[in-house]
Symmetry: C2
């Protein structure tokens, strides 16, 4: 991942961590890439969920029965990932003047 | 809307505006409430899209033919709206010390 992870965020940006977590794939934990949504409303990278379904026709989050045909592109998540990464980068610069964080807090 | 709108964001938070825009319903322009996704991957408030479809069985964004049965809950958008609002509120406090914005810039 080219991007800094959450642990690198300055303290003033820890408030981004909930949004950050929602934009990650529950299989690979990276930001979703080509987001696909199941009927049960769970989201994964296209490659991650297809690989999973090739072993077991179940949603990896809730175990609902799921097939490849049930998957639907969730394009807004891809757009949100792009915008969120740019937001995070801009906010990191803004908060550059905040005091350095102690590694032990 | 109980929340401050984008125009009220301090300059250091204008970088939130793309994420903000993505979380809004293209019908009512408020943050999506009970997000529903069409087959064509467009998202609306549940009430807004159902009202629309009662007049015309088309997606209001791209005109693809759409029925109520095609709608799927996009729950992650509801969660993102909640987290984003809290992020925005926290960041507004953080940036409280930034200089006041001139109304003409
Ligand atoms: Zn993944
Ligand atoms: Zn599921
Ligand atoms: Zn709406
Ligand atoms: Zn559409």
């Amino acid at each position: 991942m080219a991007f800094q992870n959450e642990a690198d965020l300055p303290p003033s940006l820890t408030c981004l961590k909930n949004v950050d977590a929602l934009l990650r794939c529950p299989i690979c934990f990276d930001f979703v890439s080509i987001a696909m949504m199941t009927k049960c409303s769970h989201n994964f990278c296209s490659l991650c969920i297809r690989k999973c379904l090739s072993f077991k026709l179940q949603c990896p989050v809730c175990n609902s029965s799921t097939t490849e045909q049930d998957l639907r592109n969730n394009r807004i998540l891809d757009d949100l990932v792009t915008s969120f990464q740019s937001t995070r980068q801009q906010l990191s610069k803004v908060s550059f003047d905040s005091p350095p964080r102690s590694p032990f807090t």
